[in-house]
Amino acid sequence: MISIEDIMYISEMCKLKFTEDEAKKIIEEFTEIINCVDKLGEVNTENVAPTYFINYNMQLLREDVVEEGLSKEDALRNAPEEQYGYFKLLNVMD
């Protein structure tokens, strides 16, 4: 059974926040989903390899040559806040 503390802990990892009422609703939904997920326990997966990707392509490396990327202007075009040509953030060190 999942507790409110569990939900709050997961939300911290997800960088999301919920009120206690919202957390209670999430518990209900989680319980329903977990019951459905528990069904997988019926399948015998002993000695079965997991499939994480369908295509196992060779990862090609490009030549180590300088290529043009996004310009500074383009990279900053969608930034919510920028200053002196950088993404603006709060001070993280005094």
């Binding site: 960088k15 919920f18 997920v37 069904k39 997966t45 997991p50």
Partner: protein, 485 residues
């Protein structure tokens, strides 16, 4: 001549023969769009000026006698999670409400190179999470057949726009049925190609091992025409497959006599609307009459596909959504005092309920205590489901099933019941888990509402799937110009 009633193929031909101009085509569709959008809300952004400019360039090419691309003059809708350079790409989310990409997705680059005209960006469930296009930050899209009902999702905007003749063809993305299910609900044709056939570069990822860009149209030939333009190896996408290019139009009309079709007994035993089932059984008889060999088959682990899909997709979603932090692009909260608060407030204010729910469950299933029990277990069951399909395709060309277990449901009917909503994808998710291809085509109507038939093929067997779909469409006359509103 009523241009909007033409198929994409016909538009191209009439343009080539100088019966109409590209500007005529674009203007006719913009008129239609302006009339329909008040009711439908199938588009988030309409790129009228860009479309008219593109049309003028094509008309100039014709004047000069230059060679035209295969999509010349055809108006196309692009789902709003596919990156379009200099045109807003929102993913249906407040998070990306003002995002204007500085680069182009490969598929859009290919469409432009083929002289296709992008008319706008279509509405979708937020970050493609949903089966009804009700979770979009930009409002619900309505089903053109019955505006009280959902168009399906998450490519509901693309399916509705095609059905309502706002565009001739459209791009969608399909992670668990997001092209096929809305195609079924809107009575159009929707194809999810094999994983790796079409580049995913510039598709805003939902679940990387499942997502695939695909095509929607009012008939099978139009769907094949757009597919032809967007396939091919792309070095920018590490999952793209390097193989010979097939022409999906050539050979489309070949005979289907002798094709071996399997119908999974588990599918027909599932809980579904009896009226849907009846239409599917009728369709099976049609295939028999066309000379195909239809037999009952078994996919013994199919009942576990939905739970497997949910675990794998949410796990991938939770890591994909981590990129939205309010720093480099996207929404940033106004009130915060610490860096942590900046992240938390931005994400909490800009993500909708369904997105948060999936991030939470994905994080839960990947956590140290659950990783082995939930995520790794699902990845193993995925292997078993894939092996079931592989085995069937040793003996059969095609597998048939319904696309959705129900008819298009009413707006608001399932939004408070996530599990009921997920079940709309019960027939479509196994295809994404196994990376194979499938199409949904209209196979009949129940009280005026369309039923979709899913035709499933093995990896890279799109031509077989399209051929069978084309033969069926011809037989029942439900495609193309016969579906007029």
């Amino acid at each position: 001549m009523d241009i909007i009633n033409l198929t994409a193929m016909d538009m191209r031909e009439k343009l080539k023969n100088k019966e109409i101009s590209a500007r005529d085509i674009v203007e006719a569709h913009i008129d239609r769009l302006q009339k329909m959008e008040e009711d439908l809300n199938a588009f988030i952004t309409i790129s009228k000026e860009e479309a008219l400019n593109a049309a003028d360039i094509i008309d100039e090419k014709i004047k000069k006698g230059e060679k035209l691309g295969p999509l010349a003059g055809i108006p196309i809708g692009v789902k709003d999670n596919i990156i379009t350079k200099d045109i807003k790409t929102t993913c249906g989310s407040k998070m990306l409400e003002n995002f204007i990409p500085p680069y182009e997705s490969t598929v859009v680059e290919k469409i432009k190179k083929a002289d296709g005209i992008i008319l706008g960006k279509t509405n979708m469930d937020e970050f493609a999470m949903g089966s009804s296009t009700e979770t979009s930050y930009f409002g619900i899209t309505k089903n053109p057949i019955d505006t009280q009902r959902v168009p399906g999702g998450s490519s509901g905007g693309s399916a509705a726009a095609v059905r309502a003749k706002e565009v001739a063809i459209a791009l969608g993305s399909d992670t668990g049925g997001s092209i096929r299910q809305p195609a079924s609900f809107c009575g159009v044709v929707g194809l999810k190609p094999t994983y790796g056939l079409v580049s995913r570069y510039g598709l805003v990822s939902l679940a990387n091992s499942l997502d695939q860009i695909g095509t929607l149209g009012r008939n099978v030939t139009d769907v094949a025409l757009l597919l032809n333009a967007i396939v091919g190896y792309d070095e920018k996408d590490s999952t793209s497959v390097n193989m010979d290019i097939i022409d999906y139009i050539e050979g489309l009309s070949e005979d289907v006599k002798g094709m071996r079709i399997g119908v999974p007994k588990e599918y027909l035993n599932l809980n579904m609307d009896e009226r849907v089932k009846e239409q599917i059984l009728n369709s099976i008889e049609i295939f028999k009459n066309m000379g195909a060999v239809v037999e009952e088959i078994s996919l013994p682990h199919i009942e576990y596909a939905l739970a497997t899909y949910y675990i794998i997709s949410t796990a991938e979603i939770s890591s994909n959504m981590a990129r939205f932090d309010g720093i480099r692009y996207g929404y940033r909260a106004k009130d915060y005092e610490t860096l942590d608060e900046l992240y938390i407030n931005s994400r909490s204010e800009a993500f909708g309920e369904e997105v948060k729910r999936r991030i939470m469950f994905g994080t839960y299933s990947l956590s140290k205590d659950n990783n082995e029990k939930i995520y790794k277990k699902a990845a193993k069951v995925r292997t078993i489901i894939k092996e079931d399909f592989d085995k069937i395709f040793e003996d059969y060309d095609i597998i048939l099933s319904p696309t959705s277990p129900s008819l298009p449901f009413r707006i608001g009917e399932r939004i408070e019941e996530p599990l009921a909503m997920y079940k709309s994808d019960i027939f479509t998710v196994p295809i994404n888990l196994t990376g194979i291809c499938a199409i949904s085509i209209p196979c009949g109507y129940v009280e005026g509402l369309p039923v979709g038939l899913q035709i499933i093929g093995d990896k890279f067997e799109e031509l077989k799937v399209l051929r069978l779909a084309r033969a069926f469409e011809k037989h029942v006359s439900l495609g193309g110009e016969n579906i007029g509103l």
